[in-house]
């Protein structure tokens, strides 16, 4: 089910949580709402679910073209996964997943056999069928979140909303679960929106990323688009690392590359992977930089360079290029840039 959000605003006292936000979420896609805390992403998710009301005005939310303002939360067919799981501690895993089926009005309620079959099918899906009789307190964080997901799917939702679903988990489990979520989505194709402040997570899992800042949408695009063609200085800085140069670049732009962006200011943004290092030749001594630190552990070698004015430049080289250059700390080098972005700020 597609979701159309038009001109939604939300204030909490003097704080603008959402400022005239409009967004289209196509049917069957997995969309990430990415932004720092306080950017309004969770508020937007909760408004879609109906847990918060947008400020009155000309704002509108449609599911598959239908205005949902008058539809109560319990009838929206929204599956919601909370950051802290929100499992019912007094119910077993089985009963947690069965909850949405058991509370249906008598006429719509499936028979016990149907409920049992569906719950076990969902527990199979999240690989927890053997845990049906356990209680939430007896599960690990990752297992709890999978139960929460099975529970959200039990009502056969048209829309699945996930609020920082991996936020309370440790790094390794988080990595596993997000790949698993992506595979699950590829199987089920439920229109899904998940909130995260982790740009790696958003980039890896989602079809589309919506980057939010201070209650506004900064950019909407595929992970590649927002990474390679950021629409603003904020997006550039939030999605991946970036070097910021005010007043000018401390080196030339390589042939075949150019300066992107429509800003008129003289503030330049370059990703570390777009910085190349070359041995210093006498003619360019004015732009010499000193190798300050070398981090060689990892697939890429990160090198921190310091210019004459103590300007820090971070470069990422392949291991191969690094060996080729034979860089040493304190060595004098010069840099060249590939893709450079320029924004007003």
């Amino acid at each position: 089910m597609s979701i159309h959000i038009e001109h939604i605003s939300k204030r909490y006292g003097a704080f603008r949580a959402l400022d005239d936000v409009s967004l289209q979420i196509p049917h069957g896609e997995l969309t990430a709402l990415l932004g720092p805390s306080g950017s309004g992403k969770t508020t937007l998710l909760r408004i879609i679910a109906g847990l918060e009301q947008p400020d009155p005005g000309n704002g509108l939310i449609r599911f598959q073209g239908q205005d949902i303002a008058g539809i109560p939360v319990s009838d929206r067919r929204v599956g919601f996964v909370f950051q802290h799981y929100a499992l019912f501690p007094h119910l077993s895993v089985f009963e947690n997943v069965a909850f949405g089926l058991r509370v249906k009005p008598r006429k719509q309620r499936p028979t016990p056999q149907v409920i049992s079959d569906r719950v076990y099918a969902l527990l199979e899906l999240v690989q927890l069928a053997s845990f049906a009789d356990r209680y939430p307190a007896q599960l690990s964080g990752g297992q709890r979140q999978r139960v929460a997901l099975a529970r959200a799917l039990a009502i056969e939702p048209e829309v699945l909303l996930l609020d920082e679903p991996f936020g309370a988990l440790d790094a390794k489990v988080r990595l596993e679960l997000r790949r698993w979520l992506r595979r699950l989505h590829d199987e089920l194709h439920v229109t899904s929106v998940f909130v995260t402040h982790d740009q790696d997570e958003a980039m890896e899992v989602s079809d589309r990323v919506v980057i939010m800042n201070q209650g506004r949408i900064e950019q909407i695009g595929s992970p590649q688009e927002v990474y390679h063609r950021p629409a603003s200085a904020f997006v550039m800085g939030f999605v991946g690392q970036v070097n910021v140069f005010r007043g000018g670049l401390p080196g030339p732009v390589q042939q075949g590359h150019g300066v992107h962006g429509d800003g008129f200011g003289a503030i330049y943004f370059v990703r570390p992977s777009d910085v190349d290092i070359r041995p210093l030749s006498g003619a360019e001594a004015a732009q010499a930089l000193r190798v300050a630190r070398i981090h060689a552990a990892g697939p890429l070698v990160r090198i921190e360079l310091l210019g004459r004015d103590e300007q820090l430049v971070t470069a990422e080289l392949t291991q191969e290029r690094f060996r080729q250059l034979q860089l040493e700390p304190e060595q004098q080098v010069q840099v060249e840039f590939r893709t450079v972005h320029r924004f007003d700020s």
Partner: protein, 277 residues
């Protein structure tokens, strides 16, 4: 250097412990022994005879009947008030919280007098009640009213912090899965607050059975009719019927023990429940 300081520390500990034990002996163990000693002074036969006396039986029944009505009333009020305060935002919320505490702050005797002023013969509703032949003061309804008033904060006070701490995620999850308000209350909120609820009921029960001041004002002390257990103890004592008075008092004391054991058990359960997740 270490030994003397530890030695002194032990002295401090021993002194403190001694003070505590002394107070307990003086104010708790002594009276308890006295209660049971006096009650059993004339032997087991006389002890049990104290309970078969019609006036004693009537007092026991009255106390049980009152408690049986007061606790459900308190349950409804406590759950409703705690749910409002813990799960919703509305103007006047802090005022409501203060009002819930009011019965704690008011002397029970004053509380009883308030009901006499409202429902008594010369009270606001007195003549209207008399016309309809409804007796409130010096009758069972008055006792229930006074006891309810005095015990009103117990369940709400136990539930509010517990429910506030739990947050609203689970209720929201239930709502999103299609549960109605009643289903959320009975399937999610109350089962999660079960221990706090039971704890509140135990405390409320103890107070309801033991309440003296407020009930004393509204009951009228009609022997065999409007005397609750604590009032019956007073009547027997004033009649110099000490062994019967202490026998009935021992019944109330036993009740206090049961309450204490239940309370401790519930607290343990609560501690386990909190450790588990």
């Amino acid at each position: 250097m270490r030994a003397p300081s530890e030695f002194r520390f032990n002295w401090v500990r021993a002194t403190l412990l001694g003070v505590v034990v002394l107070f307990l002996l003086l104010f708790l163990v002594g009276p308890l022994v006295a209660v049971f000693g006096e009650a059993l002074r004339k032997g087991l036969g006389a002890y049990f005879a104290s309970f078969t006396d019609p006036a004693a039986r009537s007092a026991i029944w009255l106390t049980l009947a009152t408690t049986a009505v007061v606790i459900p009333l308190n349950l409804v009020f406590g759950v409703a008030a705690a749910w409002c305060v813990a799960k919703f935002r509305f103007p006047g919320k802090s005022l409501l919280i203060s009002l819930i505490d009011l019965p704690f702050a008011i002397s029970p005797v004053i509380a009883g007098l308030v009901f006499v002023l409202v429902f008594g013969r010369n009270g606001w509703l007195g003549s209207w009640l008399e016309q309809h032949d409804w007796k409130v003061i010096f009758a069972w309804p008055g006792i229930v009213l006074a006891t309810t008033f005095v015990t009103l904060p117990f369940i709400a006070r136990e539930l509010i912090p517990y429910m506030q701490e739990q947050g609203r995620d689970e209720e929201e999850a239930a709502r999103l899965m299609g549960a109605s308000g009643w289903q959320i209350l009975f399937r999610v909120t109350l089962p999660r607050a079960k221990l706090a609820l039971l704890y509140g009921i135990v405390l409320c029960n103890a107070r309801a059975m033991g309440e003296f001041g407020a009930v004393s004002v509204v009951s009228g002390h009609v022997r065999g009719e409007t005397n609750t257990l604590p009032l019956h103890v007073e009547v027997l004592y004033n009649e110099y019927n000490f062994s019967a008075a202490f026998a009935v008092a021992s019944l109330l004391t036993l009740l206090a023990f049961v309450t204490l054991v239940l309370k401790t058990w519930l607290e343990r359960q609560g501690a386990h429940a909190r450790v588990a997740p």
